[in-house]
């Protein structure tokens, strides 16, 4: 026999009450943990993917959309910008480096991105198998693309127009897989990457096909990309790209470039840092609301613990007096009652921990995009410790008043009151 066993026996004696308190506590904790897990992982992944990109320059439209489409590849592009204008921008002395992107096509839900090798280096991508693309219509695919579609080197495929499965196929020119990347936990995992000229070629071909029908084409000719490693491809005055990912040479760039681009050109500049922060402040309202809701549940469960202990103590004042008469000190009874609150919250906390992680994992695995965003329930975030500590704090706090009542039980009076 010890105080823990004693408190546990009291809890076992009222199973329904105890269950209710544990469930309430675990529910509150589970909701908070789900929110913490989702938001920290989302924040972490969004942060990881925008690293090294100071400014995104693309067609006019919503700046948030520009960022979502070109950095995270989750929204549709705002449109295209002229290759010549992009070239002009690259010569700007404030620009340290610029990576061009040409979007617009996809293969079975995975985006085809026309770019150069700088883009791979930006995310420290490593080749797992094969090589990076260099000839036109060669493609290197992300690890997740390879896994999900079961693709391997040498496979040929047709891109389809648009970003969804339902797009029309460009069935004249096929890409060939020349390399597969290592998983990097970045957007690269879910992309199909190729030369910008390959993206042009697929589209040009259709136009040529329509307008200059009958003209002969040599399909087998392999053409080396003009800028597959870095910089912009040659192209002509009609050619377009979707965006440029810019890194400034100095902090001066942050002051001058966005304004210069937005007011003097047909292009739009948006800062990933600023836009993701804006996105989070928008999402934050909902998250905060849910979080307060969860804290209210925890407080209510604390209140419920308090009420059940307080009520139980009315029936238990004889028990407490008897325990005193058997030699228990006041402090021992105080601890005995506080222990009951603590046992409930610790059990509630553990159950909440399991529920929270289980729920997150269930959500993550039922939502197919979650792998792209990189959300899982099987990680531990440091913040969780604080939530569990807060919960135990609530349990102790809820049992303080009942425990204090137990502490000051007047044994003689209670026993004489028979």
């Amino acid at each position: 026999m010890n105080l823990f066993k004693l408190s546990w026996n009291y809890l076992k004696d009222k199973p329904l009450n105890t269950m209710l308190n544990i469930l309430l506590m675990s529910l509150g904790i589970a909701i908070i943990l789900v929110l913490i897990l989702l938001s920290t992982q989302l924040e972490e992944n969004l942060g990881k993917n925008k690293r090294g990109i100071d400014l995104v320059v693309g067609a006019k439209g919503s700046p948030l959309q520009l960022i979502l489409a070109n950095v995270y590849h989750i929204d549709f592009p705002t449109g295209n910008i002229k290759l010549d204008e992009a070239k002009g921008l690259m010569r700007n002395r404030l620009v340290k480096s610029a990576i061009p992107l040409a979007l617009g096509d996809s293969y079975r839900g995975f985006r085809i991105v026309g770019t150069n090798h700088d883009y791979i280096n930006l995310y420290q991508g490593e080749v797992a198998d094969g090589v990076l693309w260099s000839y036109n219509l060669e493609a290197t695919i992300g690890s997740n693309v390879a896994k999900r579609l079961g693709m391997k080197i040498g496979d040929e495929f047709f891109g389809s127009h648009g970003m969804s499965d339902a797009g029309m196929d460009h069935d004249e020119k096929s890409y060939v897989v020349v390399g597969i990347l290592e998983p990097s936990g970045s957007v690269l995992d879910n992309l199909v990457m190729t030369n910008i000229e390959s993206v042009w070629a697929v589209h040009d071909h259709e136009e040529e096909h329509e307008h200059e029908e009958g003209e002969a084409h040599d399909h087998d000719e392999k053409e080396l990309g003009s800028a597959y490693q870095t910089g912009l491809p040659d192209g002509d005055s009609d050619d377009e790209i979707t965006s440029l990912l810019i890194q400034y040479r100095s902090p001066m760039g942050a002051v001058q470039m966005p304004r210069m681009i937005n007011s003097n050109t047909n292009m739009q500049a948006a800062s990933p840092a600023f836009e993701t922060q804006r996105l989070f402040s928008l999402l934050g309202i909902g998250v905060n609301l849910l979080r307060s809701f969860a804290y209210i549940i925890i407080i209510i469960s604390g209140l419920s613990i308090f009420i059940s202990l307080y009520n139980a103590l009315k029936d238990r004042k004889y028990d407490l007096a008897i325990m005193r008469s058997l030699g228990a000190s006041r402090a021992k009874l105080f601890v005995h009652v506080v222990l009951e609150g603590v046992i409930i919250t610790v059990l509630g906390g553990l159950l909440g921990f399991v529920l929270g992680h289980g729920l997150t994992e269930a959500l993550a695995s039922s939502y197919e995009k979650s792998e792209e965003v990189g959300v899982t329930g099987l990680v531990f975030v440091n913040q969780e410790i604080y939530v569990l500590l807060i919960a135990i704090g609530v349990g102790i706090f809820a049992s303080l008043i009942p425990a204090f009542n137990a502490y000051k039980t007047d044994i003689s009076k209670v026993l004489a009151d028979d």
């Binding site: 004693l6 028990d319 008897i322 058997l326 006041r330």
Partner: protein, 211 residues
Amino acid sequence: MISVDNLSFGYSDHKILSIPHLEVQEGQHLMVLGSSGSGKTTLLHILGGLLAPTEGKITIGKTDLYALSNQQIDKYRGQNIGLIFQKPHLISALSVEDNLVLAQYLSGAAQDKGRAIEVLEELNLGHKAKSKVKALSQGEQQRVTIARALLNRPRIILADEPTASLDDANAHKVIQLLKSQAEKYKASLMIATHDQRVKDEFDLHLNLTAA
């Protein structure tokens, strides 16, 4: 064994209890008689260290009881004084056996299940050791409280109206039981009662009258 000197309890204008001198030798048993409100329970509580007297000195053996700190009194009581109350207050969340083990734990004694069973068997309760308290009859519960009081081999057994809720046959049985057990453990037994059925069981009487 127990000596009481200049004991008084109550307020200056309303004395509940006043005992100039009382002494009970080792092995002697005392019957405290009096109608309700005469201070029987108060006296037992004072002797048991549950209630500090307004004035006076209680000495048990060589210990001046109220010179001890609160915590020391709790401990002293747990180890040396067995208390039995009118109603059988047991911890209903625990089994009969665990109620006894709890008494060992709270008094700071070693937890000895064998001893608990031994005492239960002496009181013919061995077969009820694993039962829930609620499953016991009133008389059985009262015997468990006696077992609990005897468990730590107390030097003094204080019983407050132990027979009040029992029928004639059981009342005598309980008194005989208390007497024989007290003799076995060489403890002083003090019973406070207004029960006419049992008052002649002991030679030593203390008559309290309402002040």
